[in-house]
Amino acid sequence: MARLLPTVFLIVAALVFPYSVDRIFLHTPIEREMGTAQKIFYFHVPLAWLMMAFAVTSGIAAVVQLRRASVRAEATSLAAAELVLLTGLGVLITGPIWGHATWGHAWTWDARQVTTGLLWLVFAAYVLVRRYGAAGSDRLAAALAIFGAVDVPIIYYAVRIWNTTHPGNRVVATLPAEMWNSLWPALIALTLVSVALLLVRLRQELTDIALDEAWILFNERDGHEQQHS
């Protein structure tokens, strides 16, 4: 059953996504100040939430990996980190498009823009360390993921700490009901796709680790046999 979960999630997402697009563009009122450009909000905000959720997931999994030497936690941390890169790329593409339409500049060096970019760079560094690091660098990468997760609240409160042009954290909370109702389908569709990808990468990574273990076992047995012969 667990093997079928990603497929089920992707099928449900394929059904919800067209409904979400239809609802956002044809049945949700156009925002008075920002106009049609505000429609990107329905994709930008869920992607930003998912990015932060995956960063926290990667950080928590990294803590479990370091504390309990858990292979499953290690694979989860890596898969979640890769999804931070993917969803982060979405945030960093949709954000400037929205910003260009609203503020007249794609990149304003706003505190939350900068910290989101930094979070993306931290997890890009994580993936680089995992890919090119020497033996034992998986623990180093885990520490990097934990630092990345700690960066998440800094991003959230950056708006309050520094002066910024970015919409405040209360924007979503004060949305009219019809806009909230259009946000949910987009959030559900994007979450389902992301979680499906997470599960696929998790399974791939666990298979990779199992192959590593089998290779070591094979080498050790081979070594023993050579010693005895």
Partner: protein, 244 residues
């Protein structure tokens, strides 16, 4: 068996590094000279700026120089241990692992603050807009120490991790710069506030101190796990390399 308090053990380890440093002055001279070179290069690049633009450029010059010198210092400090294979000896010695971290961090901090003794007067000499740094030495010292501490606390953890995992030094910069940028960004903002005499300077300093506390606590907590771990995964990864 562990001997002495954590602070005492850290002091003994730091003193040992300082004693070694006092014999050949390798770190002090190379990091100091590098600071001077970076300062001259920035000075040449920004010499034509007017006073207003200097206020915007000086904080960036200062903290970029700290970031560059910091990476050099951290690499060298742990290269010594790697060359002599003494990090392994330190890890099996009867001392708290956190004391190793604190000792190394203290030495790095000292070197970085020492480099600022070249950078800050140099900036004051080269750029008229940097004069407030000389006029408010205590605030400048607090800013330099807090900014360097944020960089050192994170840097020491990852430099030690790379040294113990026989990792590639190039990865230190890959890790260090994104992780330390939020703290350095705040240090830049605080430096600009100092130069402008902005009333929020102390608030920024307080926020920098808060980041220091978080990064230091997190690094101390993670140090042992990163260096030795309780896992078989290191063995797995090192042994499984040739499969790919």
């Amino acid at each position: 068996m562990r001997s002495g308090s954590l602070a005492r053990q850290a002091w003994i380890l730091a003193r040992n590094d300082l004693r070694q440093e006092s014999r050949d002055l390798e770190l002090v001279l190379t990091a100091g000279f590098f600071s001077l070179v970076v300062l001259v290069m920035f000075g040449l690049s920004f010499s034509a700026l007017d006073r207003h633009a200097q206020v915007l450029a000086i904080p960036g010059v200062l903290w970029l120089a700290v970031a560059f010198v910091g990476a050099l210092t951290l690499t060298r400090i742990f290269d010594r241990e790697r060359e002599a294979d003494t990090l392994r000896a330190l890890l099996v010695a009867p001392v708290e692992r956190q004391a190793i971290y604190l000792g190394k961090a203290a030495v790095t901090l000292l070197v970085l603050v020492g480099c600022n003794a070249i950078l800050v007067p140099g900036l004051v000499f080269l750029f008229p807009a940097a004069a407030p740094m000389a006029e408010r030495p205590l605030e400048t010292l607090a800013l330099v120490v807090l900014g360097c501490l944020a960089y050192t606390s994170v840097g020491t953890l990852f430099a030690a991790g790379l040294a113990s995992s026989s990792g590639k030094n190039v990865l230190l910069s890959v890790i260090l710069y994104p992780l330390t940028t939020p703290a350095l960004l705040l240090a830049v903002v605080a430096t600009r506030a100092l130069l402008e005499g902005h009333p929020l300077f102390l608030t920024y300093l307080g926020q920098l101190a808060a980041i220091d506390v978080v990064t230091l606590a997190l690094s101390v907590w993670l140090f042992e796990s990163v260096l030795v771990g309780a896992d078989a995964s290191a063995r797995r990864r090192s042994a499984a390399g040739p499969r790919r």
